[in-house]
């Protein structure tokens, strides 16, 4: 087990270096003026350009630039944004909101997704199965921003059940609708995966044995089948946090949430490259670490998988 974790940690290093190199390259080595837009609509004064190039090591060869950037990154320095605040500070003030949002989304995904999937899987071919299949298909084909707009229109403006936008740090109540919207896509996938996995396992020999032993229907499903069926679903839910990072940019923009997603959106619209690269690198790091944790968890949950 320990060996496996260490090996996975080592494997993540080349991926990390490659991913940050790619993002860094895309932003800083592209033709064009990196200081464009940093002085408003005007051209930047030459002294500022010189300072900027020096500060971000743009006057050095590309690989040296990158290594210096990586060194800064390791020391927790992501540069300063358009307003002169450090990107790390900006991210630190915003992440509690985004985490709250993601928490609501993941909870929603796990609870409703699993319930719908199990219900559909148990009643295979019945009405509820068809209903879940069609509903999830519709959810999957609906982009987050369409769902967000519709949710605002229906639940916020027409029915007035939930607040349409979020102010300040965002309370759980305010973040409820954005969280549901953010989690809906993954929910659909989780429900489908649960259903498929359950249907497959219900045909397994050990389930027949359990039934033959005379165990109650509930025990057969809850103890024997679910435990095995839910493994891939748990992996999926863990991995979906990565997809949510992308979705959060859109969700936070629609609902006016002051989180990491809206910070990224602000960086895009103000063409603030330093802030954009810093925050995206940060999200990719979170994504990689979450995936690592999920992989390790998987081997703990499923004793059949041995990593030695």
């Amino acid at each position: 087990m320990g060996k496996y974790v260490v090996r996975r940690l080592l494997q993540i290093i080349p991926t990390l270096i490659g991913a940050t190199l790619l993002i860094y390259y895309l932003n800083f080595a592209m033709p064009g003026d990196p200081t464009a837009g940093r002085c408003g609509d005007r051209q930047c004064p030459p002294t500022y350009v010189e300072w900027f190039n020096h500060e971000y090591n743009l006057d050095k060869p590309f690989l040296v630039q990158y290594v210096l950037y990586l060194g800064k990154l390791l020391r927790g320095d992501l540069g300063t944004d358009y307003y002169g605040n450090t990107v790390v500070h900006e991210l630190a003030t915003r992440y509690p909101t985004t985490i709250k949002l993601a928490l609501i989304a993941v909870l929603f995904e796990a609870v409703i997704g699993l319930a719908a999937g199990i219900w559909a899987g148990m009643r295979q071919g019945k009405f509820i199965d068809t209903l879940v299949t069609i509903t999830t298909l519709i959810l999957i084909s609906m982009p987050v921003f369409v769902m967000g707009g519709l949710a605002q229109l229906v639940f916020g403006i027409k029915l007035k059940w939930l607040p349409v936008t979020v102010g300040g740090q965002g309370s759980f109540y305010e973040l409820l609708m954005p969280g549901l919207v953010l989690g809906a896509l993954s929910l659909a996938y989780a429900a489908r995966l649960t259903r498929t996995s359950l249907v497959e396992n219900l045909r397994a020999d050990y389930v027949r044995t359990a039934k033959a032993k005379g165990l109650s229907g509930f025990r057969t499903v809850a103890i024997h089948t679910l435990r095995n069926s839910l493994l891939p679903v748990i992996t999926y839910i863990g991995g979906s946090i990565g997809a949510m990072m992308g979705g959060a940019i859109v969700t936070e923009r629609i609902f006016n949430i002051n989180g990491i997603g809206s910070f990224i959106w602000r960086s895009i619209s103000q063409r603030d490259g330093v802030a954009l690269v810093g925050s995206i690198t940060c999200l990719v790091l979170v994504y990689l670490v979450v995936n690592l944790i999920v992989d390790v968890l998987y081997s703990v949950l499923d004793p059949r998988i041995s990593h030695e």
Binding site: L26, F145, G149, Q152, R253, W265, L276
Partner: protein, 322 residues
């Protein structure tokens, strides 16, 4: 649907080159002629209403993309501010948007950008991922290791995040010609989309490679190129085709999301993503919900059609479900 990589999850496990030998055993019993895998799948698909719904929708949207004039006689670029924000009715069945453009005409003409981007990205990723995947799987050894680690790097960055950075780095100006604008979006998505197909193709090739008919071809002295093109690829291609179809829907969504965020297609190109973006301002949703509803409906239906088609084909090809 913000990340097509998700599809690999349920699709990858599915049609990994099942039965290169068609189930002759079953067919013999019923006395029919042996059918190929695809002929079998066709018989199953024919009987499923979902297949026909998806097929009809796809045909409609393809025709809409190629000949938008067939659906509307109006010029989508002709906007009159005096009509601004008028609700559906009379001449304009979907109403007018904030600029006084006809929403129906703009929605119809918007199909072209979305469909071209979706189809081109799916083709591009299938080609790139398929070629590299076949190469890595067939050659194996250090080539495989290097290519796989290389793919891991692109796989580690979520599609939408990666595409945002690329599109941000190569912004489109309003003067950029239509093909260039489209190509940028396609390239940005393909850059982060190909590892998905690469992994799928590689594992399918690895499964097909040890089969007897491949060994036989090699023993007969067939050259590697022939073995790959006539024995391995045809038997390993199915999962790639299925996942590419499902991903196509995902790419359309990602393009619309990029356009929505303002880094995808510029305003000079009529697209559903930009239309929804402009309609999403809160004041507008309250006053002119039709500006949001109609492009959104078309976008969802297109994506739905491609995902549904991919799933029907996948189910029809999956021997476990027979």
């Amino acid at each position: 649907m913000s990340d097509p990589n998700n599809d690999a999850l349920d699709a990858a496990a599915v049609v990994t080159a099942e039965s290169p030998i068609p189930d002759t055993a079953v067919v013999e019993a019923s006395g029919e002629k042996a059918r190929s895998l695809w002929a079998d799948a066709w018989v199953i698909m024919r009987g499923r209403p979902l297949f026909w719904v998806a097929a009809v929708l796809i045909v409609i949207f393809l025709v809409m993309a190629i000949f938008p004039q067939l659906f509307t006689a109006k010029d989508p670029t002709l906007c009159d501010l005096t009509y601004s924000r008028q609700p559906p009715g009379g001449d304009a069945i979907f109403g007018y948007d904030a600029q006084g453009c006809d929403v129906f005409a703009r929605t119809i003409y918007g199909a072209r950008a979305s469909i071209i981007v979706g189809v081109a990205t799916a083709l591009f990723t299938a080609l790139l991922g398929g070629l590299l995947g076949t190469f890595a799987g067939y050659v194996g050894g250090w080539v495989d290791t290097v290519l796989s680690r290389f793919a891991d790097i692109f796989f580690a960055i979520p599609l939408l995040l990666g595409a945002i950075v690329v599109m941000y780095s190569i912004p489109s100006s309003p003067e950029s010609p239509f093909p260039l604008v489209i190509f940028k979006v396609v390239a940005a998505m393909a850059l982060f989309g190909w590892p998905n197909i690469f992994r799928l193709m590689r594992s399918a090739v690895l499964q097909v490679k040890p089969n007897e008919y491949v060994l036989a071809a090699r023993a007969l002295g067939a050259n590697p190129l022939r073995i790959v093109t006539s024995h391995i690829v045809p038997n390993a291609l199915t999962p790639v085709l299925v996942v590419s179809t499902i991903d196509l829907g995902g790419y359309i969504v990602t393009e619309a999301t990029l356009s929505f965020l303002g880094v995808g297609l510029p305003d000079t190109v009529i697209s559903w993503g930009r239309a929804i973006s402009r309609a999403s301002d809160l004041g507008l949703i309250r006053q002119v919900p039709h500006m949001l509803l109609f492009p959104a409906l078309f976008l969802c239906l297109t994506v739905l059609a491609f995902i549904m088609m991919g799933e029907v084909v996948r189910d029809a090809l999956d021997p476990k479900l027979r």
